[in-house]
Structure formats: structure tokens, C-alpha cells
Subunit: 153 residues, 2 copies
């Protein structure tokens, strides 16, 4: 192999290696969207830790975590959820076919999630009581979608 | 366990479970930032596939992939890279201590990455030749940072 790769050659090599290593259907989309969920879990963990009194309330940190929830929502990457990318196509995902089925209310659930994230964004930096008050709505929005469209694991 | 959990209780349970399962230092930050890299890999793979002629050029899809690179950059989540979250603290990451060391030029490298992503965003939807022309800069920006600050694996 050539010792010195140009940038373009390097990235093509990386992309090819990635493609070869990820042959299961929708693997790249699944890894990418699980990444988004990990980012949300990190930020929700920060907020939940404060809500429960496990970590001291820090207005700036709480606001940053809530801002990040909204920023991730605003990424709006529908390409990560192509039709058919469910747990019958690839067991690496827990996404149920119901999410894509006729009559699925995932759109309404996503809107509820956005509203809950925006409410948390407005509350998190105010004070601990406000943060705690917004936590139930946020948890409800997470849980509503997970219960309907995520296989238990 | 109570059969019916309120949203808040549910999310606190989830967050606690998450914290218990992720005791290694910076595990949550590392998983979250690896998620961002997975999203970038997906989008760069789409662009590289077209650049190499493996997949047909599709202006809208190319533009969406490039837009997503910029959107991920714009997330601007410095909380995912806390000082000390390197591969000496947790082998789950390949991030080298050099990234955080005195004199590290990671800031300049991030700016070069932003410029390359913006150049790709401007080029990707134009035509295949423009996309191919922007690929070298993008690959160079990826590779420059990976070579300096990522352990080979």
C-alpha cells in the first residue's frame, strides 16, 4: 500500500472499509441513529441527575443539556430512518415495523417530543423546581415512543 | 415494581440504569461522540460512493448528505469532549491525549473541517465533477485530525 495517501484516497479507503464491515441491512443508518439516542441519553442523564438531587443543580449545565436535546431534534435527519429499517430487517435495531406501518402515529409522537424538549429548554436554566417540572413531560414523550415502537431488550 | 410508571419515574429509571451500566470514565460522552462520527461516516460514505462511481450521482441525495455534515458540525457539543476523556482514561475511545495537550492545534483542524464541509455543501448538489472536486479537501480534513489525534485501531 502506498505510504502516502492523498486526502481523497484516504477517505475513499475509509468509506470502503466501512461499507465492507457493515453489510447487514441498514447498518450504517442504525449505528448513526443509535448515536443520536446516545447523545440524548447523555443529556437526559445530566438533567435527570439534577432532578433527582444526585448531582447539584447547575443552571448553565442544565441549559446546555436541554439546548443539546433541541439541537439534536433540529438535525432532522430522516435519512437515518428509511422505510424497512426495522428489527425484522436487522436485529441490531430495536425499532419495530409498527413505526413505519400504515396509521403509525410516530409523527405526532415526534411533535410531542419536540414540544417536551422545548419546554425543558425553557425551564432547565431557570431553577431546579422548573427543571423538575419539565421532567415528567420529557420522560412521557420518550416513553410514549419507546413503548409503541421499540422492542424491549 | 409498580405496573404503571409516570413519565418522570420512567425516565429516571432509564437514566439510572444507564448510569449503572456505564461506569467506565467518560463512557456516556464517548458513546455520544462516536454516534456523531457514525453519522458523519454514513454521509461521507454516500458522497464517496458517488465520487467513486459505485452509486449513481443523485444531486438531492448528495446535497442532503453534505447538509447533514454541516448540521452535525453545527451541533457544537463541546460537552462531549471533556478534558481527560482520552484513551488512557477509557480504552473504548481512540482519542489520544495529544488532542487536549498544551499546544494542540485541534481548534485549527476543526476549522479546516468546517471549511471542507461547507465547500462540500456548496458543491455536492451542483454536479458529479464538483462533488469529486470537494472530496479531496473533505478527506484531507478528516485524515489530518485522525492521524494526529486518533490511535490507529
Amino acid at each position: 500500500m502506498k505510504k502516502i495517501l492523498t486526502g481523497a484516497a484516504l477517505i475513499l479507503t475509509v468509506a470502503t472499509g466501512f461499507a465492507l464491515a457493515e453489510d447487514a441491512p441498514f447498518s450504517k443508518e442504525i449505528k448513526a441513529r443509535q448515536g443520536l439516542m446516545n447523545i440524548n441519553a447523555l443529556n437526559i442523564g445530566i438533567l435527570a441527575g439534577m432532578a433527582k438531587g444526585e448531582t447539584p443543580y447547575d443552571a448553565a449545565q442544565a441549559k446546555a443539556a436541554a439546548d443539546a436535546l433541541v439541537a439534536v431534534y433540529n438535525l432532522d435527519l430522516p435519512m437515518l430512518w428509511p422505510a424497512g429499517s426495522d428489527n425484522t430487517a436487522n436485529p441490531a435495531t430495536n425499532a419495530l415495523p409498527a413505526a413505519w406501518a400504515e396509521g403509525s402515529d410516530i409523527g405526532a409522537k415526534m411533535e410531542a417530543w419536540e414540544a417536551a424538549a422545548l419546554a425543558m429548554q425553557a425551564a432547565a436554566g431557570t431553577d431546579l423546581a422548573s427543571l423538575q417540572g419539565a421532567m415528567e413531560g420529557l420522560g412521557g414523550a420518550c416513553g410514549s415512543c419507546h413503548k409503541a415502537f421499540r422492542a424491549s431488550n
